[in-house]
Amino acid sequence: MTTVDLAQTQAWLADFAAAIHENAALLTDLDRQIGDADHGSNMDRGLTAVAALNADDFADTAAYLKKVGMTLVSTVGGASGPLYGTFFLRFAGALPAAADAAGLGAALRAGVEGVAARGRAEEGDKTMLDALAPALRAYDEAVGEGVRPALEAAAAAAATGRDATVPLVARKGRASYLGERSAGHQDPGATSATLLLESAARNLG
């Protein structure tokens, strides 16, 4: 059975950091249309700090991911800092040692529920949850196939959820102040959350 280890986890975060850096201008531009034009630069700053962490300094995967969460909380700012920070803190708290597909699913569930609680948001509000919630459902459906196929299904569902944010009217976050005018734009948070799951599907399992 494939399990998730510390080296893979660090590769996931390094890959996510690279994806954020590569897409920083796109994320900021999406945020410029319905927010305040800082999502790309804020996430890039935070993930650069995460990429600088040395996995050898940590006893296990959960300890490393806890530090990832605290680092994001401390460096990203805005709403994304507490949201991504809470995702990794809760994810780390629920991750069993040598996690198999089911264990990783439990961690993913804890992370997604943490985001919903911290942001007091639900699916359909035009937030990162619109990528994360369908991803979690897809993961659970494919969990019997193993870590990699389940994550690939999750990443595909996240991308579909991200695309589906375009026509939505935002009900949470700064975009909500635009009312109807927030429709017609892709949500920046759902976009970065999709990158997170795509990186996971390339590196875990």
Binding site: R32, D38, R118, G119, R174, L178
Partner: protein, 335 residues
Amino acid sequence: MGLVKKLINDASDVVADALRGIEAAHADRLRIDHDHQVILRADAPRAGKVGIVSGGGSGHEPLHGGFVGRGMLDAACCGQVFTSPVPDQVMAATTAVDAGAGVLHLVKNYTGDVMNFEMAAELAAAEGVQVEAVVIDDDVAVTDSLYTAGRRGVGLTVLMEKIVGAAAEEGLDLAGLASLARRVNASGRSMGVALTSCTVPHVGRPTFDLGEDELEIGIGIHGEPGRERRPMASAREVAAMLVEPVLADRDFTGAPAIVMLNGMGATPLLELYLMYGEVATLLREAGVEIARNLVGNYITSLDMAGCSLTVLGADDDMLRLWDAPVDTPALRWGL
């Protein structure tokens, strides 16, 4: 759209560089924690006094750092431009000003600010610091608060920090201060208008596009677009666009009011006074008794042109606290 000229060195150092300037200008009364980007009263913590902490993204100067000092804030946390401060910063400010009487967080209702202050309050509580938080949400431009993140915290923040800061200076306890802050929040309303967008330094171009002949009504303070776009109009007509929604939302007649006509950063005082004259006339015609006023740039949105109106229905207690001595870089009277 071309790049906008800015007096900066490096876009990523704007806040750190500005804090060095604030220190150079006000070292007699302020202390800067450069590691956490927190502006502190030089004499904090004050024995027996509740610490008043606020903060938010930078770019709204003089809010919040310009209001640190005797009779107002004990500390202000400076986030990156238009980005909430992180919990570490709020924690550093909270523990630095706590003298055992607890700390009150005054938080503008923006998703990021609320979440970061909330995480900091959880951390502070774990370290034994008593923290209360009051969220300010005075922006009447947000009408359907059920389907949004709620009304934004805007101009009323300035009046809140003055009144609650004065009460803390007098020795009111944490529960009393939180209750006063909630009373102020319930009694104040604001509405803003932009003639131009604004330019975040590390972005280098305006946050939204607004035509030469257009107004953005119902803006917040982060260069986010408002609810509605209208054709450019006269000052008298714009004054009505600000006054009407404020008065429609709360009855301000029959009690004294504190009125602030605030500039968004790039509108000359000449125009702000002209606008105050128009607004004051409309308010008086509607039966509002203006007891105190404040005209100028107090809560800005970088280089945005435009203004906002804040009206606070004030009781005798609030008026007395408004008149109490204040000694900060941006507000100073009664000394």
